[in-house]
């Protein structure tokens, strides 16, 4: 029984230490948060281009101003890289069609949600 407990313990330690830190990395992103004014405003969410092929890149910008802005990004099915006011998206073959990207911008007092759609084809 001691051997069994030891085994479970070793497995748990191995699991914890062998895992990479969760997250994402994209060579061209690294754009941080952009606080340009103390007045909160979230004017637009723009995708460029709005149509791509599988494996190509869409740049998405959240145009917001305010202090200590927090950007929370999610997608219906696409992959998101980077963080902050500018992210980049792509899609796998399983995501052919319209992809919805949602961005919530919050300054701790205000929180506004916007979404943008881009199209993925082969």
């Amino acid at each position: 029984m001691k051997l069994l407990y030891s085994l479970i313990f070793v497995l748990a330690i191995f699991t914890i230490y062998s895992c990479k830190k969760e997250g994402s990395y994209f060579p061209d992103s690294g754009t941080g948060n952009k606080d340009t004014s103390s007045v909160y405003s979230y004017s637009s969410l723009i995708a460029t281009p709005d149509t791509i092929q599988v494996g190509q890149i869409v740049d998405i910008y959240a145009n917001a101003t305010g202090k200590n802005l927090i950007y929370t990004w999610s997608s219906s099915h696409a992959e998101i890289f980077g963080s902050g006011y500018h992210i980049q998206c792509s899609a796998e073959p399983c995501c052919i069609g319209n992809q919805k990207i949602t961005c919530i911008v919050s300054d701790g007092v205000h929180s506004v949600t916007k979404y943008v759609v881009f199209n993925v084809s082969f």
Binding site: K20, S24, P27, G55
Partner: protein
Amino acid sequence: MIRFILSVFCVILFSSSSYSQCCAQGCSMTSSDIFDLLSKNHLEVTGFYKHSYSDKYYSGSSQYSFGSAPLSLKNTSFDYFGMSIGYGITKKLTAEAQGGYFGNKTQNFVDGAWLVGNGLSDWEVTLKYNFYNSKDSVWSMTISPGIKLPIGNYRDYTPQGVKLSRDVQSGTGAYAGIIEYACRIKLKRNFYIVASSEFEYNGINPEQYQYGYKFTNIVSTKLNLYKGLSFIGMLKHEYCTNDYFYDQEILASGYNRITAIPALSYDFGNDWSLTAIPEFPLYQKFNSIQFAQAYNVSCSLTKDINLSRSKLSSSKAWHK
């Protein structure tokens, strides 16, 4: 002959109506003993590790290249640390729970970008009932209904507030129902063939995503090589239907795959068993274009504990 026809009928019946979890790399232990029915009051604890690696796109059954697309996948992999606990309620009924932790569920892209997710997986709970044993002990059959509980996280975000893609989430967010039929045929003394069919129905998760139905057929046998060392040969066929998102069929999902599993098992000490299980796809055919699995490797360590024996020994100790 009637028993044989009955067995074949059951396998075909489950084959035609059953189906899997496709796009997401769902994970469960490939058991070295599909029939694995525990004796009454026996507890079986298995720890296992699985590594999966994929590095090629397939269109149908042929390799496919996206050329220079910067965010096409270069490779994907995951490490899975799992545990399975089985208990023999009666000599004909075994309960089993299985789950684990996904470490390094990784997507690497052509231009160097990557996504990594970690977290608890969904858990699977099954009951295995031995409903038929022939008088001559040649035929034995079990049925195993089960359920998958969506314990794993399907909405995991990075610390920077970006939601990870569905393929690196550790859970599905959906309940699933499973039913398995297994038949063991004793051909000679100490030589068995086990055939099983499993159907997995995946529900719709709160994000309106539904993984395809999965149907798995396995034929396996075990040969004793030397003392505690055994060779386990398995052939697995998986058929997975398309996923759905908001009632729309995902065309690039669903597949047919045949996998060869040549495993080695070593029994040692007091009811311990160590098993190494490589899995190599022999044939894969995908709907549209998908990223195909290159190999899986898993190893497991199993300990069988006779609880009635330990109760007996503890009561003896008490009386002393």
